[in-house]
């Protein structure tokens, strides 16, 4: 019952043999070894598995691997370019938005999806963008302030 899919992850092409019930989360974590994408449930309850598929933030645990055929996927590992952190990652560090770190990759990917779509956003839009990402450590305060620092930067630029 194996099926072959082709997908582009962080700019690199992969051909993967999948089972029908495999999720994108399993493809990324287990077949490609991209464990920066987390898993905290199986049903879109926590958001720690968030990745970007063709510009849209999705729960990779609820996204069938078969649906990923031919798609462009960005994961947290794709944000570091030439050894440099992405401005979103820098903002999370500078604002103290990271604690245990388990929700962090998902939070950053949801932020990226928002930022890619809209360079200047309101605090309410920031909160809406991460409403599907649970954090048990931070109270979201410093995450939102990291996000808003990016909104300001883009409005200035």
């Amino acid at each position: 019952m194996k099926k072959t899919i082709r997908l582009t992850v962080n700019g690199e092409d992969y051909t993967v043999s999948i089972e029908p019930f495999d999720t994108l989360n399993k493809v990324l974590r287990e077949y490609l070894g991209l464990t920066g994408t987390k898993k905290g449930c199986d049903y879109g309850g926590c958001g720690s598995c968030t990745v970007i598929v063709d510009g849209r933030a999705v729960y990779s645990c609820m996204f069938w691997a078969g649906q990923a055929d031919g798609r462009k996927i960005t994961t947290i590992e794709g944000l570091v370019k030439n050894g440099e952190l992405d401005p979103i990652q820098e903002a999370f560090i500078q604002h103290g938005a990271v604690q245990c770190g388990y929700c962090t990759p998902g939070m950053i990917m949801s932020t990226k999806a928002l930022l890619d779509k809209k360079s200047n956003f309101t605090e309410m839009e920031a909160r809406e963008a991460i409403a599907g990402n649970l954090c048990r450590c931070t109270g979201y305060v410093k995450i939102v302030s990291a996000m808003m620092s990016l909104a300001k930067k883009s409005s200035e630029g």
Binding site: G40, T75, G96, G101, E128, L134, R136, T138, G139, K142
Partner: protein, 769 residues
């Protein structure tokens, strides 16, 4: 105090780069050669005896490598908790032929894939003989109630299902009530079974090397050395044959203090497979049903008497916790709840009695606050009730009665050396706009009413002087040939920032760049002994010993420099990671040069520079905190909207204000959840958990959060390193009572049962009319 250059600064977290880039490794990210996947079969019944168990059908499934039932594991009586064995009930076996809650471990399978393992456990045939059940702790203590345990050790009263009992008394309570102008109570408060709910799932990898007879665990943990002790006991091995490695931990909040049955089950499965690594990952559903520990639910019945001037004359409390099927850290939370409830105020007399009682529900255990949230939820409301009777402002009443510098806490013998409560009250009151609570126009008369409430709290910084507890840690500092530093510390990084503050302390003491300090991962094989991260202890306790290790390192550096420059230590000056001969700046050596000199220069006199310290902290400074809540209550729907939370906490010196604020901000979310939404619901008919997923067990999202403000009040405590106190747990303790008091201010109705759900608010409003 001399000026600090690294301590007190907002340096970026040392683990942040690896976490924002997805490079931080959690146990679930690790895949080992030939690894198989374990799955646990759980009881569908709240109380039953297994009369028949047959794994043969499971074993026939291709890819199944091992099965495990109670017949396959040694019958070792053990415990889940982390306290010292002398006062912790030994009340369970790794696997048993009796199950005591829905979700209790029955059997397990290891297979080539998680899917195969899941299918295989379904094929295990089990026959049960149902046993009578009891879900309510008060009922469980009644004569004739079903008995959960008939063997074990250190169980207070098996016939009445009482795992632990505590009684604290001071002064003449009867006389105190007689002399009181106002007596409130008995008032009964009910607290819920909130779950720690870390985002990372529970689990571990275990590998039993059959030739060395040595077991390695990769297990997210708050206390690797106590894990090792408990697991060594369960596996029948000495400690040095058990290695516990804790990778990064994706949230703990107390729940990773417990050695769960799945740890030993993974090890025994590994043994049965001939030594293949076995990974067990609990599902999110198993987080709630699989006994990964709730905050103890139960009741607190309080009575308080005060004189006309407001001084508290007498206090009486009866506290009953539901332990669940097994008493994890049994005497801990009930003991701490009963203790801390006596020590925030100067009571003329008190009488407190507590019970931790077995019931056929998922076990309760350690959860941030360790009995403190329950204590303060009730205490801080009855204080407001007394204030109302006396027609006194709740802040004024608290200021009259709270402990002061010089007071001795009865249950621990600890003297209060610093207390920032008044400053916390004043700062918070100003920030929340306290006086508005008396303005009827502000509160409103329409559908939506507003109110403001306050609550205080007291806690501990570690476990020193807690009856039955010890407190110990160690630190080793190694200097290398580049003059850089490796700190060996049991710095369990749960997200709270322990590695960052440890780095700051070392950098401050040795006057080096924080980037020069490396802290390796947690591993019992080479780290020096220490208790870990719980009880708001790491910065206060380990910080003390890290400073001592740094002083020892500096001493050795100076001794080697004295040899190098052929002078005396007294003639040397240590500054910014360099040693200079006084008055001869040309004779200066870097740490790198001194290490090289020490290790290589003289064949007859060589040595590595290894600073070390082990022992207890100086003391146990109580941290304090005050929180304010502003709420809007819809009197038609009963919905409570928290508009603003203000937290002002006496944290002592904040080593890193950003991480300290992070503790408070995160604590507020957990406190908010405890107040309004959280609690595992057990069906009183079947004993099943009714809200076993993240859709039904509601924790706050970014959209639900109110405006929050946090203030760090920093009296320099003379007993903590640089003046620190604990802050990890205090952050969530006063949130729920502050919200409850604000609701009362808004609508004149007091709901005494957590969580404060709309239906309870409506019911209370109806009863009032």
């Amino acid at each position: 105090m001399t000026e600090l250059s690294v301590v007190g600064k907002r340096i970026p977290r040392v683990d942040a780069k690896s976490k924002v880039s997805g490079r931080a490794v959690y146990f679930g990210d690790t895949v080992l050669p030939r690894m198989v996947y374990g799955k646990i079969l759980r009881s569908p019944y709240p109380h039953a005896r297994i009369t028949k168990i047959d794994t043969s059908e499971a074993e026939k499934l291709p890819g199944v490598r091992a099965t495990l039932t109670y017949k396959d594991v040694p019958r070792v009586i053990t415990y889940i908790g982390h306290l010292h064995p002398p006062d912790t009930p030994l009340d369970r076996y790794i696997l048993d032929n009796v199950v005591r809650y829905v979700g209790d471990e029955v059997a397990a399978v290891a297979a080539d894939s998680p899917e195969t393992a899941a299918e295989a456990v379904e094929r295990i045939h089990v026959e049960y003989e149902r046993l009578p059940t009891v879900f309510d702790p008060e009922e469980a203590m009644e004569p004739g109630a079903p008995k959960l345990h008939d063997e074990g050790e250190f169980i207070f009263d098996m016939d009445r299902n009482i795992a632990s009992h505590i009684k604290l008394a001071f002064g003449d309570v009867e006389k105190g009530f007689k002399e009181s102008a106002v007596v409130v109570g008995p008032e009964k408060f009910k607290v819920s079974a909130a779950h720690t709910n870390p985002i990372e799932l529970y689990g571990c990898i275990a590998q039993w090397d059959p030739l060395e007879n040595r077991v390695t665990f990769w297990a997210p943990s708050q206390m690797i050395f106590r894990f090792r002790t408990v697991l060594a006991h369960q596996l029948g091995l000495p400690e040095n044959k058990v290695r516990v490695i804790s990778p990064y931990v994706g949230g703990a909040f107390g729940s990773r203090c417990h050695v769960y049955p799945f740890h030993a089950i993974a090890a025994f499965l590994s043994k049965k497979t001939g030594g293949r690594p076995v990974k067990i990952t609990l599902s999110r559903e198993e987080t709630y049903v699989g006994g990964t520990s709730n905050r103890h639910p139960g009741t607190l019945t309080l009575k308080m008497g005060a004189a006309k001037d407001g001084l508290f004359k007498a206090f009486d409390a009866r506290i009953v916790f539901s332990a669940g099927g097994y008493a994890y850290v049994s005497s801990g939370p009930i003991g701490f709840c009963c203790s801390i409830i006596t020590s925030l105020y100067r009571f003329g007399a008190y009488n407190v009695e507590g019970y931790n009682v077995y019931t056929n529900t998922p076990p309760s255990g350690a959860f941030r606050g360790f009995g403190g949230p329950q204590a303060h939820f009730a205490l801080e409301q009855i204080v407001d009730m007394v204030a109302e009777e006396l027609k006194l402002d709740p802040i004024e009443l608290r200021k009259k009665n709270h402990v002061r510098v010089g007071d001795v806490i009865h249950w621990s013998g600890v003297e209060v050396r610093t207390c920032g409560l008044d400053e916390c009250l004043d700062k918070g009151a100003e920030a929340v706009g306290w006086k508005r609570r008396y303005d009827s126009a502000y509160r409103g008369t329409g559908v939506k009413r507003r109110g403001i409430g306050v609550a205080m709290m007291e806690h501990v910084s570690g476990t020193k002087y807690i009856p039955g507890e010890a407190e110990i840690t160690s630190a080793i500092i190694k200097l290398d040939e580049s003059g850089k530093i490796t700190l060996l510390s049991p710095a369990h990084e749960l997200g709270q920032g322990s590695r960052t503050v440890a780095t700051q302390i070392v950098a401050e003491e040795l006057e080096v760049d924080p980037e020069d300090v490396v802290i390796p991962e947690l591993d019992t094989d080479y780290l020096p002994y220490g208790l870990g991260s719980f009880g708001s202890r790491y910065t206060y306790v380990d910080g003390t010993l890290i400073r001592a290790a740094a002083a020892d390192t500096k001493r050795q550096v100076l001794e080697w420099a004295a040899k190098k420059f052929d002078t005396t230590v007294a003639n040397l000056e240590y500054k910014k990671g360099k040693v200079t001969v006084k008055g001869a700046p040309e004779n200066t050596a870097t740490l790198a040069e001194i290490v090289k000199f020490a290790q290589w220069y003289n064949p007859d006199d060589v040595g590595a520079i290894i600073g070390k310290a082990t022992g207890p902290p100086l003391y146990n400074a109580p941290p304090f905190g005050v929180q304010f809540a502003e709420v809007e209550v819809d009197v038609e729907t009963g919905v409570v909207k928290v508009l603003k939370l203000v937290a002002a906490h006496d944290v002592g010196k904040a080593i890193n204000p950003t991480t300290a604020e992070g503790q408070l901000e995160g604590g507020l979310t957990q406190g908010l959840g405890y107040a309004l939404t959280e609690g595992v619901i057990v069906d009183p008919e079947t004993g099943k958990v009714l809200n076993s997923d993240l859709m039904d067990y509601k924790i706050f999202t970014a959209l639900d959060m109110p405006e929050t403000r946090v203030f760090l009040i920093e009296p320099i405590d003379p007993t903590g390193p640089f003046g620190v106190k604990g802050i990890g747990e205090p952050a969530l303790v006063p949130t729920a009572p502050a919200i409850a008091n604000a609701i009362y201010n808004a609508i004149g109705v007091r709901v005494k049962e957590l969580p404060l759900l709309p239906e309870k608010i409506l019911k209370a409003l109806e009863e009032k009319q």
